[in-house]
C-alpha cells in the first residue's frame, strides 16, 4: 500500500525529506512548542523541577487520554461530543464503588470499568452506523444521556479512591523521576495504539476517515471500522475517567464538561484534521501537554483562575480557527 503511494511521489521528484516534513512536520512543531514553553514555565515557578513535572503530568493525564480517544474517532471520520460526560460516568462510578476497596480490588474494578466504557462507546458507534445519523447528532444526544446517568449515580461530588490507587498516578517510576502519569500515557500509546495503527485495523481507520467511498470500494468494512474506532476510543475514555478519579481523588458528576471541547482542541492542535484521515496520536499528546501547561503558566503569572479558564477557552477557539484555515488551504 505504502509502496504504491510512494512511487508517484518519487516520480514527481519530491525529496524524501520534504515528504517526511509534510507527514511529520506538524507533530515535531507541537513538540517544539512544548519544549519552548518549558524555560518560561521554569522561570516563573519556584518549586523544584521534579515536583512541578509530576504535577503537570497529573494535571494533563485525563486530557491526554481524552484527546487520544477523540483523535482516534476524528481520524476515522467522526467526532465524539459525549467523551466528557462518559468520562464523568466513569469518574463517579469509580469514586462511589472504590472508596472502601482494597488496592487489588480497585485495580480489578478499573479493568471492568474500562471494558464497560468500551462497550458504551461501541454502542454509540453501533447507533451511528445503524441509523446513519451523523456522529455529531448521536453523540450530542449521548452527551446528555451520559450526563444524566452520571447525575443518577452521584448527585453531588463525593466518594473517593484508595490512597495507593491515587499514588499510582501521583508517584514516580522507580528512582528515575519520570512521573507515572507520563509513563501511563506512553505505555498506552506504544502498547495499544502503535500495534493497531500499523496493522490492518489501523490502516482501515485512516482509509475510512480519508474517504469512506474509496475505503468501501477497496473492500474495507466501513461500518465495522467505524464501530471499532469508537470501541477503541472507549478504552481511552475509560482511562481518562479513571485518571480523573485518581488525580482528583473524588467523584464529580460535572467533572467532564470541559473535556469534550478540550479534547477536540488538543486533537486539532496535535495535527489531526477534522476532515478525518490525517494525523497521529504523538502530536496530540504534546498538544494536551501544551494546553495544560498554558493554563499552569497563566496561574503562575497570577491570573485569576476564572480568567485563566476564559483565556484557555479563547486560545482553544483560536487553535480551531487557525487549524480550520490551514486544512482548507491544503485541501484547495
Amino acid at each position: 500500500m505504502s509502496a504504491t503511494a510512494a512511487a508517484p511521489m518519487e516520480f514527481r521528484g519530491a525529496a524524501p525529506w520534504r515528504r517526511a516534513l509534510r507527514l511529520h512536520g506538524w507533530t515535531v512543531a507541537v513538540w517544539l512548542v512544548l519544549l519552548a514553553l518549558v524555560p518560561y514555565w521554569r522561570s516563573l515557578s519556584e518549586q523544584d523541577f521534579k515536583f512541578d513535572l509530576s504535577s503537570l503530568a497529573i494535571d494533563a493525564l485525563p486530557l491526554c487520554f481524552a484527546a487520544m480517544a477523540q483523535a482516534i474517532i476524528i481520524i476515522s471520520g467522526g467526532i465524539d461530543l459525549s467523551i466528557g460526560s462518559l468520562m464523568a460516568v466513569v469518574n463517579v462510578l469509580s469514586a462511589r464503588e472504590m472508596v472502601d476497596m482494597s488496592f487489588g480490588k480497585a485495580i480489578a474494578f478499573s479493568v471492568l470499568l474500562i471494558l464497560l466504557t468500551m462497550l458504551a462507546s461501541g454502542f454509540t458507534g453501533v447507533v451511528i452506523t445503524l441509523t446513519r445519523i451523523p456522529d455529531i447528532v448521536v453523540t450530542l444526544g449521548m452527551l446528555f444521556v451520559w450526563q444524566g446517568i452520571a447525575l443518577w449515580i452521584m448527585e453531588i461530588p463525593g466518594g473517593g479512591v484508595p490512597i495507593n490507587y491515587a499514588d499510582l498516578a501521583v508517584g514516580d517510576l522507580g528512582t528515575t523521576g519520570i512521573p507515572n502519569a507520563t509513563v501511563a500515557v506512553f505505555a498506552a500509546l506504544l502498547l495499544v495504539w502503535a500495534p493497531i495503527r500499523w496493522l490492518r485495523p489501523g490502516l482501515a481507520i485512516y482509509a475510512v476517515g480519508s474517504n469512506r467511498n474509496s475505503a468501501y470500494l477497496s473492500g474495507i468494512g466501513v461500518a465495522r471500522t467505524r464501530v471499532g474506532a469508537y470501541f477503541l476510543a472507549g478504552l481511552f475514555t475509560g482511562m481518562a475517567g479513571l485518571a480523573l478519579s485518581a488525580s482528583s481523588g473524588i467523584g464529580d458528576p460535572n467533572s467532564g464538561t470541559t473535556y469534550t471541547l478540550n479534547s477536540v482542541a488538543a486533537a486539532v492542535l496535535g495535527g489531526v484534521s477534522l476532515l478525518g484521515g490525517v494525523g497521529g496520536l504523538i502530536g496530540v499528546i504534546a498538544a494536551a501537554y501544551v494546553l495544560t501547561l498554558s493554563k499552569i503558566i497563566l496561574l503562575l503569572r497570577g491570573t485569576d483562575p476564572n480568567y485563566a479558564n476564559v483565556y484557555q477557552g479563547a486560545l482553544i477557539i483560536l487553535v480551531v480557527v487557525i487549524g480550520g484555515l490551514l486544512t482548507r488551504k491544503t485541501r484547495s
Partner: protein, 331 residues
C-alpha cells in the same frame, strides 16, 4: 384482477396521506400534544385528584413555555442552515445578567445591554462559523465556555441587581387573569418568524444554504453573510429568552438558563426541523416547545429527577432524528 387498481388506488391514497403528514408534521405533533395533555390530565387526577386541563394550567403552560419558545426560535434558524448553537443557554444567562446589571440605570438601558450582549456573542459565533468556517458545534461550544468563564467572574462580584419593571411584567404578569404577557410577545415574534421564513428572500436563503450550500453559492448567495446574520439573530433570540426568564424569576443566577440548551435542541428536533438543515419550520418548533413543557409537567407529577429528564430528552433527540431521517429519506 379487478382488485389490482383498487389496491393501487388505496396505496396511492395512503402515499398521499403519508406525503401530507411528512409535509405537515405539525398535524401529527398537535395530535401528540393533545394526547400528552389528556395523559397528564389523567395522571394529575390520579395523583392529585384535580384535573390538569384547566384554563389556569393552560395559561401557566404558555407562561413557562415562552422563554424556551424564544431560545428555540434562534435554534430553529441556525438549524435550518445546517448548524447548531450550543451557546444559547449561557448567552441567555449572560443577557439576563447584563440587564440586571444595567437595570438600575433605566429600563431602556437595561434591556439594550442584555440584547447587546446576546447580539455580541451571536456575532462572535457567526464570524467563526461564517468567515473562518469553524465547525458550528465546536465554535459555539467554545464561545459558550468563554461566556461561562466570564459570567462566573462577574457573578462572584457583588453588584446591585435590578430587574427593570417592564422586564418583570413581560416575564411574569398575566392580563385578564389568564393571558400571560410573554405569550403576547411570543406570538408577535412567532408571526414575524413564520411569515419571514416563508415570504422574505432572507428566509428562503436560510433554507437554500441549509439544503445545499454549494448550489446556494453558485446561485449567488453570499454564504458568509447569511451565516453571520443567522448566528447573530440566534444570539438575539437567546437574549430575549434570557430577559423573559429573568423577568419570571426576578433574580439572575448562573444556572438560570442551563436546562434550556438541551430543551431548545430537543424542541426543534421534535418540531420536525431537520438537524441537517434545509427543512423545517418555526410552527413545528412551537408545538415542540409545548410538547416539552407538558412533558416536563408530567415528569414533575411523576416525581422524576433531573437525570431522568436528561436521559429522556437526549434519547428523544437521537430517536426522532433517526425516524425523521428514515421517513424523509424514503421519499
Amino acid at each position: 384482477m379487478t382488485a389490482m387498481p383498487e389496491t393501487l388506488e388505496r396505496e396511492s391514497r395512503l402515499r398521499g396521506v403519508q406525503r401530507f403528514l411528512v409535509d405537515n408534521p405539525v398535524v401529527v405533533l398537535a395530535a401528540v400534544l393533545a394526547l400528552l395533555f389528556v395523559l397528564t390530565d389523567l395522571v394529575n387526577r390520579h395523583e392529585v385528584g384535580e384535573p390538569f386541563v384547566t384554563w389556569n394550567q393552560l395559561s401557566t403552560t404558555f407562561l413557562v413555555a415562552a422563554p424556551l419558545g424564544m431560545i428555540a426560535a434562534g435554534q430553529t434558524l441556525v438549524m435550518l442552515t445546517g448548524g447548531v448553537d450550543l451557546s444559547v443557554a449561557f448567552t441567555a444567562t449572560a443577557a439576563a445578567f447584563a440587564t440586571a446589571w444595567q437595570g438600575g440605570n433605566g429600563t431602556t438601558q437595561g434591556i439594550l445591554a442584555g440584547l447587546a450582549v446576546g447580539l455580541g456573542i451571536g456575532l462572535a459565533n457567526g464570524i467563526g462559523v461564517g468567515i473562518f468556517r469553524v465547525n458550528p458545534l465546536i465554535m459555539t461550544l467554545g464561545t459558550s465556555s468563554v461566556t461561562f468563564g466570564l459570567l462566573s467572574i462577574y457573578a462572584g462580584k457583588s453588584f446591585e441587581k435590578v430587574v427593570p419593571g417592564l422586564v418583570a411584567t413581560l416575564g411574569s404578569d398575566r392580563f385578564f387573569d389568564y393571558l400571560p404577557a410573554n405569550l403576547i410577545f411570543w406570538a408577535a415574534m412567532a408571526a414575524v418568524l413564520i411569515l419571514g421564513l416563508r415570504y422574505t428572500g432572507y428566509g428562503r436563503m436560510l433554507y437554500a444554504v441549509g439544503d445545499n450550500e454549494v448550489a446556494a453559492r453558485l446561485a449567488g448567495v453570499r454564504i458568509w453573510q447569511v451565516l453571520v446574520t443567522v448566528y447573530a439573530l440566534c444570539g438575539l433570540f437567546s437574549a430575549f429568552g434570557g430577559l423573559l426568564l429573568v423577568g419570571f424569576t426576578n433574580n439572575p443566577d448562573l444556572g438560570l438558563a442551563t436546562p434550556y440548551l438541551l430543551q431548545s435542541v430537543a424542541a426543534v428536533v421534535i418540531g420536525g426541523t431537520s438537524i441537517f438543515g434545509g427543512w423545517g419550520s418555526y410552527s413545528g418548533t412551537i408545538v415542540g416547545v409545548l410538547i416539552l413543557t407538558v412533558l416536563g409537567s408530567l415528569l414533575t407529577l411523576l416525581n422524576s429527577e433531573e437525570w431522568q429528564r436528561q436521559v429522556i430528552y437526549g434519547g428523544i433527540i437521537i430517536v426522532l432524528t433517526a425516524i425523521y431521517a428514515r421517513v424523509s429519506g424514503s421519499e
